[in-house]
């Protein structure tokens, strides 16, 4: 059974209680895991442990239109970050969440290169990269992710994939009826070959989704092209090795003219 998250742009109050709670939860988790007293771990700012946070950017010509979006991991079905991690530090849980195991991360930032949504954040002080892991430890203990619990507007919603998609579609049709605009459930279907569908779907007005970095066909093209380069490369290597072996066999018993 797969799980999913839903973020509803329309219902979101922009209070960022989710972001505050995420930062607290992840530091408290350190204490729970025996990595410091509660005071010690909460005293430490550790901004890289806030996995969901607002990002402001300006669209159009100066001074432009200010847009803030909620930045978080999409928990992609095909997780490009996990596919590129050379230390196999990123695990795709069979029920959906994409988890970086901090102790295995070597800080190479291959995941940063691969992520189509610029999610993983490298912390130079720790020499490691961090991103949301959908509170998988809480999920396994039967609790919802911390950010979902903090949201006062039910703009964040968690459940099985079927429940989340059903809730998302219900919200889309309700908004469309009330506001007369087209809404999208971004990530319900495959976004791109690179990502597949997303375990974190977003409800939002179709016309402005791209302004909020939710673009169709999201992929890091040079990184995705590596697979083709590697396939062609190994085929050519095979041809070159076959040529060498062929010539060696051909040479056997032949006399070299000096």
């Amino acid at each position: 059974m797969r799980v999913s998250m839903l973020y509803d742009m329309q219902a979101c109050l922009r209070c960022y209680a989710c972001s505050v709670q995420c930062g607290i939860e992840n530091r408290a988790r350190l204490s729970r895991d025996g990595r410091g007293t509660p005071e010690r771990v909460l005293e430490n700012q550790r901004p890289e442990l806030r996995f969901i946070f607002p990002v402001f950017h300006y669209l159009g010509n100066y001074p432009g239109r200010a847009v803030s979006y909620v930045h978080h991991c999409m928990h992609c079905e095909n997780a490009p970050c996990a596919r590129r991690c050379p230390a196999a530090a990123i695990e795709v849980k069979p029920y959906g969440p994409v988890v970086i195991h901090e102790e295995r991360c070597i800080g190479c930032r291959a995941c940063v290169e691969a992520c189509p949504f610029n999610v993983p954040r490298f912390a130079p002080r720790m020499g490691k990269t961090y991103k949301c892991f959908m509170c998988y430890d809480r999920l396994e203990a039967g609790l919802p992710p911390a950010c979902v619990e903090a949201c006062p507007a039910r703009a964040l919603y968690f459940g099985t994939r079927e429940e989340v998609l059903e809730e998302g579609r219900r919200r889309v049709s309700r908004y469309e009826k009330r506001l007369g605009e087209t809404f999208t459930l971004y990530g319900a279907e495959k976004v791109s070959e690179a990502t597949g569908y997303l375990h974190w779907v977003t409800v939002g007005p179709a016309a402005i989704l791209e302004d909020y970095t939710l673009r169709p066909d999201a992929a890091q093209k040079p990184i995705e092209a590596l697979d083709a380069v590697r396939t062609i490369g190994w085929v050519l290597f095979g041809a070159s090795a076959a040529g060498v072996i062929g010539h060696f066999l051909y040479s056997l018993g032949k006399r070299v003219e000096e």
Binding site: A89, R109, V112, R230, G233, H247, V256
Partner: protein
């Protein structure tokens, strides 16, 4: 018998060190480019390291050591390659890797040498060697530029890292394809004299140059010297 200088000491030492660097680059790079098939190599890097850092696994510890060695070899190459390039650029006009005749004639001579086992009408280098030399120069350039971007990531943007990663892979496969051919040809009895010149003496016998490298011999005669780069 008179000997003709084919490679000077500096060229031979550069070639030898390039082999050393390549061995390190390949052993430490393969687990990154094809992790599913070459991760086992990481055990060898990890075992001594685990003694200092027992909390690591062969994947995290081994990969970290592999990356450090990869970068150390890169620093070695970065010291050597510019020295070599500066010295060779000075003699660019006398390089023997410029085309001599068209590719058709070059390939015909290669067939004569490698399939009929008769001396071809080569310059100092045959058509195949020239292609290999140019591919090596271009691929080395690609690897150095893209490698520097990947090594000094903080000085560049993530989109530069992505293109650097792409071209680093392309460069790797250029080497992966040409090196087996180069190594095989170098070890083949047909080219025994060339192997001796590169790894032992630096010279080729004059008679051998006359018969196997006639175009080069003509140039040597017209210059009236016994050594050309």
């Amino acid at each position: 018998m008179r000997e003709i200088q084919a490679f000077n000491r500096f060229q031979r030492s550069m070639h030898l060190h390039y082999i050393h660097f390549m061995v390190i680059f390949f052993l430490t790079g393969l687990p990154q480019v094809a992790p599913h098939h070459f991760r086992w190599l990481l055990y060898f890097f990890w075992v001594p390291f685990a003694w200092f850092s027992p909390e690591t696994t062969y994947l995290s510890g081994g990969m970290k050591v592999a990356m450090v060695l990869h970068r150390l070899a890169a620093v070695g190459l970065l010291i050597y390659a510019p020295l070599f390039a500066l010295r060779e650029l000075k003699n660019m006009g006398r390089w023997q890797i410029w085309p001599e005749g068209g590719p058709g004639a070059g390939i015909a001579e290669l067939i004569k040498h490698y399939l009929s086992f008769q001396p071809g009408r080569f310059g100092k280098y045959n058509f195949g060697q020239k292609c290999l030399a140019w591919l090596t120069i271009v691929a080395t350039g690609i690897m150095i530029v893209s490698g520097c971007i990947l090594m000094f990531k903080d000085a560049f943007s993530p989109s530069a890292w992505r293109w650097a990663r792409f071209f680093h892979d392309v460069g790797f496969f250029v080497f992966l394809v040409i090196l087996p051919i180069h190594i095989y040809m170098a070890l083949h009895p047909l080219n025994r004299k060339g192997f001796r010149a590169m790894f032992e003496t630096g010279t080729l016998p004059e008679d051998y140059v006359k018969t196997h490298h006639p175009l080069w011999w003509e140039k040597i005669k017209s210059r009236g010297g016994g050594s050309m780069s």
